[in-house]
């Protein structure tokens, strides 16, 4: 049966790889050249990679097709790309380059037409909806708008159900408060979503150990777990060291998810 996936997320900023904290690039750190990182993840046998261009939507730019093309040919594993996608023409070009999945985020907040059109055209399995969740000033989890830098009024559970109804084939859920903090995944948030989510659900934000990943899969009900800091930093001073766990360790801790 299909296995739970362990997915490094790599953030593209000014053509390099960066790691943010709580979506904040000013607290971020330069990690290195994307192609070099891909080579390491190829050798370590990573299940899948996620690339997110954190500038494209904010600066209202086209996706960087030449960089995406370079990524696609260097990656000997499946790849998902997100950032700056606004229409199906862009998506068509990215799939034809050899990227397996495209991640949509801010474009979905107030309009579902692209999601419906894309999942009809390309199949829902290749369209991932990313959802960022942040606690508002009253401590209630809300869907976060990273362009306007504020919480929306949407409750994550209802929002995700409506994305799946509109054709999302996978949900990539990030807890903004945890991102880059090494404080563990938000298991409560994950549980509240996974109980009603009929498509694969990937959790991101906060992982510090394989135990966190195991908890997210076995307790939280995630189909896959994603992390950045854990795969690019070593030690409390955050020395850059790109790494990925051994398959044997993953097998023991994570195991099979029974086909989710």
């Amino acid at each position: 049966m299909l296995r739970s996936r362990i997915i490094p997320t790599l953030l593209l900023h000014k053509k390099g790889l960066y790691k943010t904290v709580g979506f904040n690039i000013s607290k971020g750190k330069y990690i290195g050249d994307p192609i070099n990182a891909i080579k390491i993840f190829n050798d370590k046998g990573a299940d899948e990679l996620v690339f997110i261009d954190i500038d494209a939507s904010k600066e209202d730019k086209e996706p960087n097709f030449s960089l995406i093309s370079l990524i696609a040919t260097e990656c000997f594993m499946p790849v998902a790309y997100g950032g700056g996608i606004k229409n199906v023409q862009q998506m068509k070009e990215i799939y034809s380059i050899g990227i397996e999945k495209i991640i949509l985020n801010s474009v979905l907040l107030y309009d579902r037409s692209l999601l419906r059109e894309a999942s009809g055209l390309f199949g829902s399995q290749s369209v991932v909806a990313a959802v960022d969740v942040k606690k508002n000033i009253w401590g209630k989890p809300k869907v976060y708008d990273h362009i306007r830098k504020k919480c929306t009024k949407f409750n994550p559970e209802d929002y995700i159900l409506s994305l799946v109804e509109s054709g999302a084939g996978e949900i990539y859920l990030t807890s903004v408060d945890r991102e880059g903090t090494f404080s563990g995944y938000d298991i409560e948030l994950l549980k509240s979503i996974s109980k009603n989510c009929s498509v694969p659900l990937v959790i991101n934000g906060g992982a510090s150990s394989l135990q966190d990943m195991s908890d997210a899969i076995l307790i939280g009900g995630a189909s896959g777990v994603s992390a950045s800091s854990m795969f690019v930093f070593k030690g409390i001073h955050k020395a850059v060291l790109i790494t990925y766990p051994d398959y044997k360790d993953l097998e023991q801790i994570v195991g099979s998810n029974g086909g989710k």
Binding site: R5, A72, M77
Partner: protein
């Protein structure tokens, strides 16, 4: 020379790249004359069965492929749709396949399974093969497909994989090999498999 057949079905950059990575050499071509000189062939492919067969026909490749594979017995590896095209037929379309393997292509039961079958899964060897030499290891590969191959003869089945049912994830008959998964997206496992094919 190993020729990766370019017939307009999907991106072949990562196959080319992986062959380069393992120290092999290949040409990418859809030209009958180039294919005629090949000592080994890879038929990749992402897309629908009928479109695949139509493209092979329109490029004038079917006769030359029959000559190379059936008469000259040049080794060929079909990947994903490329594997399915080596069979007789598919429930996905009306076109006849190349028909070199006694097998047909069937649709997964989408009532009871999430289709496509997409993700990492295990291929369980059913016989000895030069493609899988490290026999003690669990072989994991990346799959994306909605249809699967069903062989008439157990002896053609090289590996099987479980997804609701047990299906043929690789077959082998003399010089003809097919894999349903994507070795070019299955890093270490895919590299070993492609290396074994390149070194046949």
């Amino acid at each position: 020379m190993l020729v990766v057949i370019d017939y307009g079905m999907g991106n072949i950059g990562s196959i080319q790249n992986m062959i380069k990575k393992i120290g092999g050499k290949c040409l990418v071509s859809g030209d009958p004359e180039t294919i005629d000189k090949a000592s080994k062939l890879i038929l990749p492919g992402v897309g629908s069965f009928d479109a695949g067969m139509r493209n092979l026909r329109e490029l004038g490749l079917i006769d030359i492929l029959n000559k190379k594979v059936v008469i000259e017995k040049v080794p060929i590896l079909g990947i994903c749709l490329g594997m399915q095209l080596l069979t007789r037929s598919s429930e996905e379309g009306m076109e006849k396949g190349l028909g070199w393997i006694h097998a047909d292509v069937i649709k997964f039961d989408s009532q009871n399974l999430k289709v496509p079958h997409m993700g990492w899964n295990v291929s369980i060897p059913q016989k000895q093969s030069r493609l899988f030499v490290k026999s003690s290891r669990e072989e994991r590969f990346y799959f994306v497909h909605s249809y699967y191959v069903k062989c008439d003869q157990q002896s053609d089945i090289l590996t099987s994989t479980n997804y609701g049912i047990e299906f043929v994830s690789a077959f082998e008959n003399e010089n003809i090999f097919g894999v349903q998964f994507h070795p070019e997206k299955s890093h270490l496992f895919g590299m070993d498999l492609l290396r074994n094919f390149v070194e046949l």
